[in-house]
């Protein structure tokens, strides 16, 4: 798959933002006043910024309102509804905390639930794709959820939760890669089934339909991005998981926390790049490519 910056930024930052909103929503002693204002600013900058970034890959972004209509069948539509519900609920909850110093707990609980639902629905957009075997497994939502919860706890400064959750996210991420590497073979889709010609003999792509490239090849066949995948996996886990955990075990200050957060974001960005770049769409088989 083409690792478009808009979707990498979207999944990384909206995951972190909604993760932070979850922890803010369930906090029994939430911050108030200016401290609450800063927390909400960070969470909304990431969540809304990520969502806005995702609109850059739309061909007709001005019609985005229509995307809220098909919640009965479409995960993308469900995601939109979950995101807006969460942002409204948590916005009102934040309003109470910042300006009135009161916690309207039911709104916080609704927002926290909505934040989880938003990350889950985002992950299901990818998980539902049978055409992309690497994504089409239960580990994909587990990976998105564990990153969002760990990153959110890290941003919230909830150290005792952040350390184990980061470790869990790291384990889930490694399993996702190990299982993902076998997913295409296990899917059973080959050039033989794609062309139906396998009963005659071994099939080879002889000539593509055209001399140039096309939308399908640009979108679905992206070989360059996978070149350094092993190195990027190590970088992703080191920056995203190992360094933040080590820093959190040190006596913590604001500067160290900031470095831990920056390292985590860089690591998640590297992992998300691989999430798209390594994903192989079955349509590549018609071009003799993966």
């Amino acid at each position: 798959m083409h690792p478009a910056p808009s979707v990498i930024i979207f999944t990384t930052f909206s995951g972190l933002g909604f993760g932070l909103l979850f922890w803010l929503g369930i906090d029994p002693t939430p911050p108030t006043g200016w401290v609450a204002f800063v927390f909400w600013l960070i969470a909304y900058a990431m969540a809304v910024g990520g969502l806005l970034s995702s609109t850059f890959h739309l061909g007709r972004p001005e019609r985005f309102l229509k995307a809220f209509s098909q919640w009965r069948s479409s995960w993308l539509s469900r995601e939109g509804i979950a995101a807006v519900t969460t942002l409204v609920a948590m916005g009102l909850y934040g309003l109470g905390l910042v300006f009135y110093g009161t916690a309207w707990q039911p709104l916080g609980a609704l927002g926290a639930l909505g934040a989880l639902a938003t990350v889950f629905t985002t992950s299901m957009i990818y998980t539902q794709m049978k055409t992309i075997p690497r994504w089409n497994m239960n580990l994909t939502p587990a990976m998105f959820m564990s990153y969002a919860l760990a990153g959110g706890a890290l941003l919230k400064g909830n150290i005792e939760m952040a350390i184990p959750l980061l470790a869990i996210a790291g384990v889930v991420q490694v399993f996702t890669w190990v299982m993902g590497d076998k997913a295409f073979e296990n899917s059973g889709t080959t050039m033989a089934t794609a062309t139906g010609l396998g009963s005659i003999g071994s099939v080879r792509a002889f000539e593509p339909p055209h001399t140039g490239t096309n939308y399908l090849m640009r979108e679905f066949i992206h070989v360059v991005g996978r070149k350094h995948s092993q190195k990027l996996r190590i970088i992703g886990v080191a920056l995203g998981i190992v360094i933040p955990v080590v820093l959190l075990l040190l006596p913590i200050g604001h500067l160290i926390a900031l470095i831990a957060v920056a390292s985590h974001i860089a690591g998640v960005l590297a992992s998300r790049w691989l999430f798209f770049a390594e994903a192989e769409h079955v349509v590549g088989l018609y071009y003799g490519k993966r």
Binding site: M1, H57, L58, G59, R60, P61, R63, F64, K66, A67, F68, S69, Q70, R72, S73, S74, W75, L76, S77, G80, I125, Q128, M129, K130, T131, I132, S187, G188, T189, M191, T193, A194, T195, G196, L197, S199, I200, G201, S202, V203, R204, A205, F206, E207, P208, P209, H210, G212, T213, N214, Y215, L216, E219, F220, H281, V282, V283, Y286, Y287
Partner: protein
């Protein structure tokens, strides 16, 4: 709603004969010609006369080489036209967030209402066959309409009320009809020739069927005396014979 109809009254679709397709790409051109000036937005080209040109097509012809296994049979070249298969269980329809993609209850044709399309591209991701392409000029998804603006069009001669690709094909490799009616010509053809689904494991239940190439016949021995004739000398003689022996000794 972008949910799929439980049952469609008809299953209109194409049957493509891989045995007779000669790979001339006439269907590609006629498809682009008809559809760029009829249903919906035109099929744009980018940098059409430059070095890296590309454009939107609803039908593309691949060519595959198949090497039969087991014996020393010659490789076969098979031309392979590919367009929307109008699947019964179309994954492209259910992923659509706006309701722009839909499958018609009356005839099973999968269409895009371009006024509702936000160009998110998710339906193209969900299609295993590469049947949908996002038009780069219009920002909306384009796909085969089974020439819905021809097949019911009473302004056209009756002979023309079939998809443009079928009307154009010079080798008779493309057939159009109702695959839900087991007595239709296309259904009989599929039954007779062992018509197949592409990527059946994806669970899309395609309506369009592909007829596999017929088995190659073998050249019969045309001279009854041939087996009794003296075999052609296998041993090299003269200069080549000397060279063969000398090289053998080295």
């Amino acid at each position: 709603m972008t949910t799929l109809p439980n049952l469609t009254q008809k299953k209109l679709g194409l049957v493509i004969d891989l045995d007779t397709c000669v790979g001339c790409h006439a269907c590609v051109i006629s498809c682009k010609g008809w559809n760029t000036e009829n249903y919906g937005a035109p099929l744009s080209d980018q940098n059409a006369y430059g070095a890296d040109n590309s454009g939107t097509f609803l039908n593309r012809v691949h060519s595959f080489e198949v090497q039969p296994t087991g014996d020393e049979a010659a490789a076969q070249l098979i031309h392979f036209p590919k367009s929307c298969l109008h699947c019964e269980d179309a994954p492209c329809v259910t992923v659509c967030p706006t309701g722009a993609s839909y499958k018609r209850e009356e005839d099973g044709i999968v269409l895009v209402n371009e006024q509702d399309c936000i160009g998110c591209g998710l339906c193209a991701w969900a299609c295993p066959y590469g049947a949908r392409e996002l038009d780069q000029a219009e920002g909306v998804m384009k796909k085969c309409t089974l020439c819905v603006d021809r097949i019911y069009n009473e302004n056209l001669e009756e002979v023309d009320r079939i998809p443009s690709c079928v009307r154009t094909c010079p080798s008779g490799a493309r057939h159009f009809g109702d695959l839900g009616d087991e007595n239709s010509d296309v259904s009989k053809l599929v039954a007779e020739r062992g018509g197949m689904d592409l990527m059946p494991e994806q669970g899309t239940k395609p309506v369009n069927k592909y007829l596999p190439p017929r088995p190659k016949d073998e050249l019969p021995e045309f001279d009854v005396l041939a087996p009794f004739l003296e075999p052609v000398a296998q041993e090299a003689k003269g200069f080549l014979g000397w060279l063969d022996k000398t090289l053998e000794k080295l």
